[in-house]
């Protein structure tokens, strides 16, 4: 305020005495004060409004980290899978067996290539697939990134994977199914 006054007081015609300033303030000083009930009423409204707004923002707030986690899961799985492939392990693709389970096979290189390129077409069917298949892999009652991790681990470690985890319905249980679960776990309209 000193800076303001200096700026203002450059013109002596615009200065006033301390007495005038005091009397102006005395004249226009309210006789009463704000009662505490008014304070409480305003703060109650503020809390209601800000908390409600904060809740509305929360899905967006978590979307970034969740998407990062999903991306990390996909990358980890891709790295692990590629490592396994270099070792000649049969961990990439699966084909339907006679007992409706899935036999793990490395006979589908084209499918692996399609998956590695993250074809847009691969993810377009996500909503359709999600409507028909539950992706609560770990059975904890909710779909989250842990489901994607569990499915990835199961595909990698087991000789047989349950056909019910053919999330995208392409006849294989593979990394694209893991992706579907991961993307499902971080969708913005979740729970709406």
């Amino acid at each position: 305020m000193n800076e303001n006054k200096e700026y203002f007081d450059e013109d002596s015609n615009l200065r006033v005495s301390d007495k005038l300033s005091e009397d102006l303030n005395a004249l226009f000083k309210p006789a009463s004060f704000v009662p505490p009930e008014i304070d409480r009423a305003i703060m109650d409204k503020a809390r209601q409004h800000l908390v409600r707004r904060s809740r509305q923002r929360s899905p967006l707030r978590w979307a970034g980290p969740a998407a990062s986690a999903a991306a990390a899961a996909v990358i980890i799985f891709a790295v692990v899978s590629n490592t396994g492939r270099q070792r000649g392990s049969a961990v990439f693709e699966t084909a339907k067996g006679p007992d409706s389970s899935v036999l793990i096979s490395d006979q589908a290189p084209a499918q692996v290539e399609m998956y590695n390129s993250y074809s847009v077409g691969t993810f377009k069917s996500l909503k359709t697939v999600r409507a028909h298949i539950s992706v609560d892999i770990d059975g904890n009652g909710r779909v989250d990134i842990l489901d994607a991790f569990k499915l990835a681990r199961d595909i990698e470690s087991a000789e047989k994977a349950e056909m019910k985890w053919d999330i995208n319905g392409d006849g294989f249980v593979n990394r694209s199914d893991v992706d579907f679960v991961a993307f499902d776990a971080v969708r913005l309209d979740k729970g709406v």
């Binding site: 013109d11 005038l20 009397d23 226009f28 000083k29 309210p30 305003i42 503020a46 908390v51």
Partner: protein
């Protein structure tokens, strides 16, 4: 102590305590200004509440581009006029005379000052109040009134000239 800008950023994130701090920082200023416009305690309280509800609705995307007083002043003024219109109260000019406390012996100069202020054109009186009661600087006043700084300076000068020339208030300007 956090700046207004810091408190606003926190309130934008849903921090009710930050809004609480803003409220207590400007509550008395808003009430005093509202009281000056309405000259009525209950009306001033109504304006106070409506002003902070108006501010609250700006969150969570509130961006302060000037000072808080510059932002709040037009809101308080507008709400005060609305309330005054609704309650069909007397205008400021009439009320400043009718509701002025009876001047006691030692308050004679204040009563005379009020009388001279009451005969000032509203635009001059408002600038005087903004400067010497609300403590706003020229740039803030200009921003609030959406008028050039030169215009504000001119109104202030003219208002002070009236006080300087009137026999009831000229003593304020004697060295």
């Amino acid at each position: 102590m956090e700046s207004d800008q810091e408190l606003i950023e926190l309130a934008n994130k849903g921090d009710a305590n930050a809004f609480d701090a803003l409220y207590h920082r400007y509550r008395d200023w808003v009430y005093r200004l509202a009281w000056r416009f309405t000259r009525n305690h209950q009306d001033a309280l109504d304006v106070l509440q409506e002003t902070f509800i108006y501010l609250l609705k700006k969150f969570p995307n509130f961006e302060l581009t000037a000072s808080m007083t510059t932002f709040l002043y037009p809101a308080v003024k507008h709400l005060s006029f609305n309330i005054r219109r609704k309650s069909r109260r007397l205008t400021f000019d009439d009320q400043v005379l009718s509701e002025m406390p009876a001047p006691a012996e030692k308050q004679t100069s204040q009563g005379e000052l009020a009388f001279v202020l009451a005969i000032l054109p509203e635009e001059q009186r408002e600038v005087l109040m903004m400067r010497f009661v609300e403590g706003m600087n020229l740039k803030e006043i200009a921003a609030v009134l959406e008028a050039p700084v030169g215009t504000v300076k001119s109104r202030l000068y003219q208002g002070l000239q009236v006080l300087r020339r009137d026999r009831r208030t000229r003593n304020y300007f004697l060295e």
